[in-house]
Amino acid sequence: MLEHYMKQGSSYASHIDGLVWMIFLMVGFWFLFAEGMFFWLLWRYRKKPGEKAAYFDEHAEHKIKYNWVEIPHRLILVCDVALIVGAISVWTEVKISMPQTDETVRITAQQWAWTFQHAGPDGELDTMDDITTVDELHVQLGKTYKFELASKDVIHSFSVPLFRLKQDAIPGRVITGWFKPTLAGEFDVQCTEICGIGHGIMPAKLHVDTPEEYAAWLANPSHYLAYHY
């Protein structure tokens, strides 16, 4: 359902969307059931001349309660268990597990810009050929990336809707995570935690390159040399 609104661009995007779809079906059922019952009762028991409302004593109430409360209670519990299993398995995949990664990218947020430290041609961070860019992240299609996220001043949040990835950047900490792009193109990186008056002007570009495009980018320093320090 979500892919209708936002393309899926990472290996786990479809899993998150699947979870959302499952939740949608479950809560959709309960929602329609409850609202349907609600409006039906409103119609059925609207005031009619000469009819008095029912009065349930403790005994009658107890019997009705079984249908109205006990049965939904158990069904909701079943739904909850399914939901929790789904939520935790997706969460574990995206946020807890760390697969074998091909490359690491260092992301630093500050008021109001993103700095991306790419590993460069040798694929290793903190070497001479690292490429540091501002507000522009280049990754290769199909490679698995580890990211190290930090902030220089206030709390920011690194969000790539295409990837279904979001992680707050906390000053004083380095938070790691991973992603694997599966769709080539040019996409938005957003800061999603309010970070001051420039919060609305803190976008960055994500370039998911094919190997050829990536090689061309690496080969032409003028693309990034302006930022290289």
């Binding site: 609104y5 609600f38 969000s159």
Partner: protein, 568 residues
Amino acid sequence: MAESHAHAHEPHGHAHHEPEGWFKHYFWSTDHKMIAKQYLLTGMLMGVVGAYFAYVFRMQLAFPGKPVPGYGMVTGADYNALITNHGAVMIFWVAMPVLIAAFGNYLIPLMIGADDMVFPRLNRLSYQIFLVSAIILGASFFVQGGAFGGAWTSYPPLSAKAEYNLTPLGPSLWLIAVALEFVAFLLGGINFVTTAMNARAPGMKAFDIPMAVWMIVIASIMFMASVGPLVAGAVMLLFDQLIGTGFFDPDRGGDPVLWQHLFWFFGHPEVYVVLLPAMGFVAEIITVFSRKKLFAYKTVLYTSIGTGVLSFFVWAHHQFIAGIDPRMANVFSVTTVLISIPIAEMCFVYIATLYGGSITFSVPMLWALAFIGEFLVGGVTGIFLGASGADIYFHDTYFVVAHFHYTFFPIAIIGTFAGITYWFPKMYGRHMNELANKVHFWITTVAFNGIFIPLFILGASGDHRRIFDYSNFPELATPEMQAMRVFATVSLLVLLAAQPIFLVNFFYSMFKGKQAGANPWNANTLEWQCPSPPPHGNFDVLPDVYRGPYEYSSPDRADDFWPQNSPS
């Protein structure tokens, strides 16, 4: 009313009291009803302020870069200050004073058959502190640097250092205002709880207490139990701002995430603090207008207590992606999803109350039913956010905004209108105009959905919050998304345009409305068994209680209601 009602040990000399001056009557009164009206009118005034903020920033979102009529150009700093204070005002200065303080003050003594609160002067002090807090908040807009713009959650380091937020005074004034508001509600809460515990009419046992009183009491206890750490946190943050300590400064051994824990440990129960009173009003109204006993009284009570207790263990679901240990998220996801059980049960019980009823669609009933219908949307959309895996995508998008407005709007606006239209005849002894109220109801409810349904879709499209101009984000600046923003804004304008109908009706009916009489709705609860409006001291003779509050349509009686204080 037989004279035997009066208890020998309770003197009743309240009918005659010396006339008081104008100032003493309106500003220095210890009468719970006057204090309730002070809270109600202050809350309504602040509601107008909060609505104005919403108008300005929604106009900016729909028509970015164009001056907003009645405000002017909206800068990034303005926008942040507007959204921050819209949230803070609507929760701390509208929902809480109206739902808990105004109705709590008005209803608790009347509904339990007492002549006032047990601490009348504490009550007056509570309102005065509240008023000061509102004034300080207002002042924060006019100081150097402008009002605080770091969101109502006020996360440090942004809120802690002027070099980051660029508003040297705003954050401290904001924080002092919020802290004073907490103090006001702590005093008020202690008063509510002790009054409901100790000042009940003779014969009123625990399960004879109307649900509205129970809910306000449970909410007050939850508030007291949850706000403490945030009071401590507010002091710490204030020290960080003003004298340069480093409680939340990572460079000096502090921890910014600590604030988030302190804030949300309060912030999540706070949702239920305002929800429960509204649920209480709805219980009163749906029973009266369906002439039915409240279905499963004890279940409602136990589920609301259960929800209250559980809500203390879910706070970190606001922080799934905030850098807490990701394994913690699993625990909090489980507790959060489990809260669906008591809440769903509560909704089912309310819906079941309609079963077998004889339903009249009068204005208070329409509001109460709208509460149930709309709150269900807020409830089910919360599941998407409580499930940690799905929250990765939805966190801090307009989906969240739409979700919590589908809970807070029913609570704070629909619940308030339900309460006002239901108790107005008691408060002022007159009816509001029914037709005007119905017009207002339909426009407000339809327009409300018009505002927030598009926001769900925007959120699903990845639209994130608190951005004053989307033109920097190509994926979010598409014509389709902009069209939805415009639709939401137009719906807001329609909603706002309908509110003068209510305000005029409210003030006109106060003086010119049709006389209502003591018990216009044929209700059972004690507040309807005294004159409208109740005099100083409330009851001519303080009532005794003989039965529960919801004995409607009893087969043993010709009348379809059975007041709690009627001996037979």
